[in-house]
Symmetry: C2
């Protein structure tokens, strides 16, 4: 469990310091930037609530988080269907 | 092409008014909230730049946007692989 607070940064990132979150499961890494930020799908519990899937960028060592989206299991199922229809 | 400005709202949403964006392709809708916000994967050009995939919540009629993540085609390919390994 991590306790953090957040401050919006000029680069669009969010600095942590007052949010409680716990990464329940590291599901997968989509990519890594030249500066070492990783775009990750994780299962996260925010402020002790039920965990939700979460897609966002993270600085090395999870020191900062970027903006992201929360996804339900149903969202992931539908996203999987959408991606499997794309020519990727 | 839409010209918008954005203002951070208490509910975590972003109100639009000064960002230029164009939705090049509506790729798919993951879900819809009781208030009519939709979680969508789109191909969007921001400020006239090359379009990128974008996953975020939108208010009805695209009047407001929530926070989201930008995704490259490579991100989507990797995300597809991750989702296809999950028990969904």
């Amino acid at each position: 469990m991590f306790t953090t607070a957040r401050r919006h940064l000029r680069n669009g990132g969010i600095e942590l310091a007052d949010i409680k979150y716990e990464i329940i499961e590291h599901v997968g890494v989509l990519s890594e930037s030249p500066k070492g930020w990783t775009k990750e799908l994780n299962l996260i519990s925010w402020n002790g609530r039920d965990p939700k899937y979460d897609l966002r960028d993270w600085a090395p060592d999870k020191a900062k988080m970027g903006k992201g989206v929360t996804l339900t299991e149903n969202d992931l199922t539908n996203l999987k269907g959408i991606l499997n229809k794309l020519d990727l």
